[in-house]
Symmetry: C2
Subunit: 334 residues, 2 copies
DNA sequence: TCGACTTATTAAACCAATTTAAAAAGTTAG
DNA sequence: CTAACTTTTTAAATTGGTTTAATAAGTCGA
């Protein structure tokens, strides 16, 4: 029996990996495929070594269901993100779990050289990497760097193709804010049509990632989430009010000016998108400061409409987003 | 042969009505169904009187394709919207074309009474109305009126159920801004993942409708698009700057203050959603004024990212959105 | 006007997933 | 400990769509 990768196989595989369902019945329900069909796909996957039988589910009054688990070691992925002076990377199994991590310093602002070095080294150490996801603090469109004040060597480069030809593996390039909000949204299992905004104040100007119905909002020119340009005051922008604040070493308690600016920022999103939650990063704020922001927001907007204000773990969310994208690539390319 | 309404029938019907495709080949391509399958469904629809054969397409070098058209008279729909002192309605055929229209004055702010009167009268005149769509300038969640400063008699009413039990037909209730942006988006054939914002300044406070990937953004509490609350200045909101303007009879040329406020509004959407286009209504602005707004926006945002600024015909867009929703209901209920 | 070419339609064979029914493997009440 | 009941799994039959191939109906150039 030939292993022909079909839509059905992919659908079943996605349920095993992404939703970690483990019984035929649950996968059958989730995919709206019939029991025999799912079973047949699983048999093929077991033949190929992609899936293992793994004991039984607890019985609920009748014959207990067999439990199937995806072989995490079947293949691997590499996720990385590039900052101003360092590249951080994590090797993941094909379900997204971290297996190994590390960093690589960037010398003389040669981001491209450093990236190439990490890729070569990691792929040499681990042979069965079948996809790569890369995060950058830059505007990206279709794998090409549109605007990169941080990395001169990346300017106007088709980074996706560069990585793919250097590594001979499929790659995805993602903006940092988009990766973070995508990661947060998917690790926190947003139900259906929720929308969230992830705000990172950062060292080099703030940005926001927007997730609606599980989909990233990229905008007409990749400019979405460039909140530093928001005209929130007569003569100054959001960036103006925040930077005068953030010159002091973080974490310093927020000044009234910064609190007011953040309140207006939340109000702005509420009066436009009315999102379910707005996530701030642990790098910028601590939990106790959220109450002040909420209060500042309510000077402009009735309390009933205020979104939930939450703290996200920046690095984890960033990597979670990259991992999810990477696993998606892996599942497509098997 | 029994006429069993299946997913296939629905898919084919949608292409005929919503995308007005007319040949088997084009429908087959759009639905990704095979030629024989589409053909079979069409035969059943012809049997049922829902579809007619209608001559041939112009040949493109070979045998010309038969043209199939949906029977517009197969059933009808009723669309209406309620304003402060008047209800406007349009009777439509099942492809959305207007067949008849009219208005009903509202006496003593008895919006509910007037609505009931129109419904009774119209359904009495036209027997084969199989769905109703209703637009209101109020916050709606799931057919229930959440907040209705305009219509005291609607407050907290499950208007969808009220209409359905009064008329014995399926109904959909939609917010005015949402209907307008939905109508604009679908009459102007937005390609794929475009996003647009429709802005209406109105007599009773401005509002915006947001359409992303063809989907309406409703928000956590139905508060999305309540742009009057935007904090665009040190001590005043968008509403403040606009109303001082709009006390004069419209259309008066825009003052510098209003221009500045509108420029900031566009900048705000650009720095968050970065939409492809922002639509203003013909009730509020004329085409020549858009240039001033664009200019005002570029005081805050680089020109490359500015969305297209366009004028929409408010009443037509509003009705187009209602018609589209109504046709959707009709197609579901056949 | 004929013949080569294009494109659309029809008919028949085929196949893949669903449905149905029977068997297997548990649990629980008496 | 057995009988009655649940729930999962397997096997067989059916269905409903696709694929393939043959046919029909046009265009265009010589």
């Amino acid at each position: 029996m030939e292993h022909t990768t079909t839509d059905l196989t992919i659908a079943v595989r996605r349920q095993l990996v992404l939703s970690n369902l483990s019984t035929v019945a649950s996968i059958s329900e989730a995919t709206r495929l019939s029991f025999p069909t799912v079973k047949k796909q699983l048999e093929q996957l077991i033949q190929a070594g992609e899936v293992f039988e793994h004991g039984f589910e607890d019985s609920r009054g009748g014959r207990p269901a067999k439990r199937y688990v995806y072989n995490e070691q079947f293949t691997h992925g590499l996720t990385l993100y590039v900052e101003k002076t360092v590249i951080r990377y994590r090797l993941i199994d094909c379900t997204g779990k971290t297996i190994d991590d590390g960093t690589q310093l960037i010398l003389d602002a040669d981001h491209l050289g450093a990236l190439g070095a990490v890729l070569d080294r990691q792929l040499d150490q681990t042979s069965d990497v079948s996809a790569i996801s890369l995060g950058v603090a830059a505007a990206v469109a279709d794998g090409t760097i549109i605007l990169a004040p941080e990395y001169p060597t990346f300017a106007h480069l088709d980074l996706k193709r560069w990585v793919e030809s250097r590594t001979d593996r499929p790659a995805v390039i993602e903006n940092d804010m988009n990766a973070a909000v995508y990661g947060y949204g998917h690790t926190h299992e947003l139900s259906g049509d929720q929308s969230i905004v992830y705000i990172y104040l950062g060292k080099n100007g703030p940005g926001a990632g927007i997730l609606i119905n599980g989909q990233l909002i990229r905008g007409k020119t990749g400019f979405s989430g460039e909140i530093s340009f928001l005209p929130l005051y007569d003569d100054s922008t959001f960036l103006d009010r925040i930077t005068s604040e953030r010159s002091a070493p973080t974490p310093a308690p927020l000044s009234d000016a910064a609190l007011d600016a953040l309140g207006r920022l939340v109000a702005t999103f509420t009066a436009t998108l009315n999102p379910h939650a707005i996530i701030f990063s642990d790098v910028d704020l601590v939990d106790a400061e959220l109450e002040g922001i909420r209060h500042a927001c309510q000077r402009h907007i009735p309390a009933a409409h205020t979104p939930d204000l939450l703290i996200g773990i920046w690095e984890e969310d960033y990597f979670a987003g990259l991992a999810r994208r990477c696993v998606g690539l892996i599942l497509e390319s098997i």
